[in-house]
Symmetry: D2
Subunit: 143 residues, 4 copies
């Protein structure tokens, strides 16, 4: 049986100041859109960074990111940032992203990020934190 | 007798990603250049934000900023950010900025910022902190 | 008789990457929120920068900006950016801004920007462009 | 015989506004540092984006980027961005990046970007542009 797919979408209006002199969104800004996607995901599935910090004492820095740019975004465009949680057994949180231009549904970018867990002393958590195991169970990713 | 003038200059190479679709630096980025100016000033005159936080437990949020844009900066330009400390008796730190284009010495922007002191509970310090009084004496602004 | 007041409001969710190490929005980002306010205003009253450029051949650079920071915005907050058109006879477009925190309606910042008109050769338009006069008539600011 | 290695290094002082509420540089800013690296490379080896645009009518959008974050950068740090040109026969420009913290020479990040060539109509250039072939010859990458 297939695992459940956990997905959310953020709608991001392109800001004038995100567009460069080629009149397209500067490539570095896509990581902001990915972050908006993670926020939307967190809101939809109850994975809240502030709460994780306050209740678990854990922060979740990004340890890798990648992006493939397929088609430009321009000022006036709205980006639909689709984010999917990619489950694994590692003590990591991995997301994949697809960005579409809202007006014509064109694929604009693909991407991926990985996050780890650090405690307040900055120590890497090698075991999956309990709160994440419970979260996985709650969302049908773990029995 | 005139008070001493405290000035420093930061040299800032314009980044491609700071230029907008009009092919000029987006106006909001000038506040970053002002910040680089403050850093240069802090380096030149021993006013270090990390140290102030660590030793005095004080942070210095900006409470006002303004900028007049006189001439555009473009990709490839280098900005010379001249920052001058404007002394007053208030429990504030005020700077004025002049930005020049390095290539032709053209005035590009004028600006001003004000900062206050908050302690670790976020309380506004109405009296000038001792460390600042001592700093002023050290630099000839106070007897 | 009083002139008509032209106002619009943009709702801006604070991005994680806009918050600095003091855990408050870095002061320079407010100019982005003002820009979102101008966009919302343009949408509400038919003042579209792309259209002005394409139909009139005019760009509208910001020539001055100011901001007073009254209360911090934090990650998780939503800002309500209220923008009001300040009419004048000059060949300029002036806006005033009030930013409120959505959760408690607290005033967060006040600001102002001024824009001028340049043609495609970068020449300042000293006379109010016809399209703006017509726009003012349409919105009850001019007879 | 080994091909020549083309490398350059940019020195980047971390800006206060690039540090997030975890007191480390927000991961998305590394793409700016990579860009500074490319600039330094362009300066060292005569690969100038403005010139390529003006003389060849070509722009070079980034089509992929990736970054692995090994150790955090903090406010006060200086990053040494080492950029290496990765030669290939494709009509692309590929760079690899290593970022080191200047104070202790610690590896901070690894990354990669790829750029393609578009003409003024936005058409992808499938053949390596002549100016790049000449540039390669000049730098010992091609006979």
């Amino acid at each position: 049986m297939n695992k459940k797919t956990l997905k959310a979408t953020a709608k991001v209006k392109i800001r004038f100041n995100e567009v460069d002199s080629l009149r397209i969104v500067w490539h570095g800004h896509y990581l902001k859109y990915f972050e908006e996607g993670r926020e939307a995901f967190g809101g939809a599935y109850g994975l809240n960074y502030l709460e994780i910090y306050e209740k678990q004492g854990l922060v979740m820095p990004v340890i890798s990111s990648s992006c493939q740019y397929k088609s430009p975004l321009r000022y006036g465009d709205t980006a639909m940032v689709e984010v999917e949680y990619i489950d694994s057994e590692a003590s990591k949180v991995k997301f994949q992203y697809k960005i579409f231009r809202e007006s014509d549904n064109q694929l604009v970018a693909l991407g991926e990020t990985e996050q780890v867990f650090l405690n307040e002393n900055g120590e890497l958590q090698l075991n999956v934190p309990d709160f994440l195991l419970e979260w996985k169970k709650r969302h049908g990713l773990l029995k």
